[in-house]
Symmetry: C2
Subunit: 362 residues, 2 copies
């Protein structure tokens, strides 16, 4: 089967590595050169909105999926005229716009922080009255890894914040003073079968995911059940197909949806070594219509991102439980270059190995 | 790092899939088209003894390894003049010749069945006096998957057996009435570090590996210790680097070495899903000089080969613990097309899933 993937970054690379053993072949649409998917399938090197490249990309494919969220809506519309696009484009459009996303959460009864759209300086004042302070001013579109976000603590920062984003569509969100951050991933088949990965704990540094602990320590059945219910609600509302990630804030015993990603997600990278079936394999199984694999955790796993620069590979691999996943990217500040998974039978061993990794990446 | 691989079959394919996350790049020398490694690296399509192709193959590589044993000795010699070849060529030459292999086992004190070289009709008679009946007449070279073997029960079969192999160098081996077949794999680094995978039980059908149970059920510490000692002896004698497989017969409490494979091996395919670090990754770590990964089993694993024809993929994947590995080969009688691993926390669940798989491949 020939699978087309919009985007050719590390997520595409890991999809391809997971898909070859299932007999799948891949074609990528990716503007950048070099790209992490190079050498793992055909790469159409063109902008996402080049209609001629889109025709070449679509030719002979069985279906299209995406590993990158900021694909232009009309690109997906053009592809949808001739091919199944999974996950469905409605969820992509929703996830691309923070206001539409938050409205969907509210409509579906998934708790989320107070928010208000902001498209003028006066609307910002109005939004603060609605949302309160502290709050986070964010761009509605194209934000990732903490880019496009400013925390506003007091009225003095308003002008500065407004100037930083001038001319862009914004949203103000209540600042959530969370106990911790969590993430839940699930995968849904075209027939509506759902497999849930265990709830995981995530830690962000400078707005970028730094580490994941899977399963999330001390997450009682209540939290897990609640997170699964929210994810199921979103998946069913969109007649979703593929892996969906839902990032959550935990505040005491309460869960608030922060954002969703309609694709494989960094908070699921632990599944490559720590789950019976990885998120990459299960996403592919779902989008091509194969039965889903078991999402069970094989033990306790910690995932640490390698950001900006790579420590000595030898030093990482001297930790016997460390599994290294490099993306083939050139080092650059704030760039995700790879990640390390550490799997062990008990949380204590994982924490010990994690400390060794942290000393290397510090 | 650029790794050259002699051979481009499924073992090369799984090496490449394991090596990309470590940042390795691959070039293969493979005469056949299509080949399982297609699309996973550069493929030099040429016979193994084409000197010009060998020069193109070697250019820019950091080292050479092999996934196929029957590479001509002079090919390896040519490559060795300019590049490290790992595992060392001495072990390859030994493993290519059943008599040299058996002599090495004897010299190293690794128990093996009685054997006698046969290069004439009269030598066959002499060999039977030495070895006894029943016995197995085998070609000294180029045997695999049970090809090139005839069991001799009585003197009536001698003429027939001799005629079948006429003109080839042969060896007669005592027929071992074994309790079961076992296999042990280990990996050794250039500095002499060794990691042992657990002893596994193998079952062959029509001379081809059919299934593996890992760890081997009811293998006491005594068997495990003995198997490791034999493997260590062979590895150290050859100053071995990479994965080495040692196939064993168990007869009551005794272990007899059957043959060795100086490469990743079918009896280690379970490690892709059932061990912390797969044999493919550990072979690569060893040959490029990176620290070895943990060989610990993550639970209980059964591996079943898909031979000759593929059952419906959907039916296999409906078993939630089943992990499918296809090789991208066209079906043909007796050909290995893929394998399925089933990993579970307890041997009972593995056996139940194994029964479901066996019903599909029967």
């Amino acid at each position: 089967m020939n699978v087309g993937v919009l985007g050719g970054g590390q997520l595409g690379r890991m999809l391809a590595l997971a898909g070859r053993p299932l007999g799948l072949h891949f074609r990528f649409l990716e503007p950048a050169r070099p790209a992490p998917v190079d050498g793992l399938g055909e790469v159409i090197r063109a902008p996402y909105d080049d209609p001629d490249a889109l025709r070449r990309f679509a030719r002979g494919l069985d279906l299209v999926t995406y590993e990158f969220e900021n694909v232009p809506a009309h690109t997906v519309r053009q592809l949808e005229t001739s091919l199944p696009v999974r996950p469905p484009s409605a969820v992509l459009r929703t996830a691309q716009d923070r206001v539409a996303e938050k409205e969907a959460f509210e409509r579906l009864g998934v708790p989320t922080a107070a928010f208000h759209p902001v498209d003028s300086r006066s609307a910002l004042k109005e939004a603060i009255e609605h949302v309160g302070l502290p709050a986070v001013l964010k761009t509605r579109r194209f934000g990732y890894d903490g880019k496009g976000q400013i925390v506003i603590d007091g009225p003095r920062q308003l002008d500065e914040a407004w100037a930083a984003f001038s001319g862009r569509q914004l949203v103000l969100e209540a600042f959530v003073s969370f106990t911790r951050e969590l993430s839940i991933l699930g995968v849904r088949s075209p027939a509506g079968q759902i497999a849930f990965y265990p709830l995981v704990e995530t830690e962000h540094r400078r707005g970028i995911l730094y580490s994941t602990l899977a399963p999330a320590p001390l997450a009682g059945d209540g939290l897990e059940t609640c997170a699964r219910a929210h994810l199921r609600t979103v998946m069913e509302a969109f007649d979703y197909v593929g892996v969906l990630a839902l990032e959550l804030f935990q505040r005491e015993d309460e869960l608030l949806a922060n954002e969703m990603a309609p694709r494989v997600h960094n908070s699921g990278h632990w599944t490559l070594d720590g789950a019976c079936t990885s998120q990459f394999e299960n996403h592919l199984r779902a989008v091509v219509g194969l039965p889903l694999g078991s999402p069970e955790a094989l033990g306790h796993t910690a995932m640490v991102n390698l950001i900006g620069r790579l420590p000595a590979i030898e030093a990482i691999l001297e930790i016997p439980e460390a599994k290294l996943h490099l993306y083939g990217k050139e080092p650059r500040t704030g760039r995700k270059l790879g990640h390390v998974n550490i799997v062990a039978a008990d949380p204590g061993s994982v924490r010990a190995a994690l400390k060794r990794i942290e000393a290397l990446v510090a």
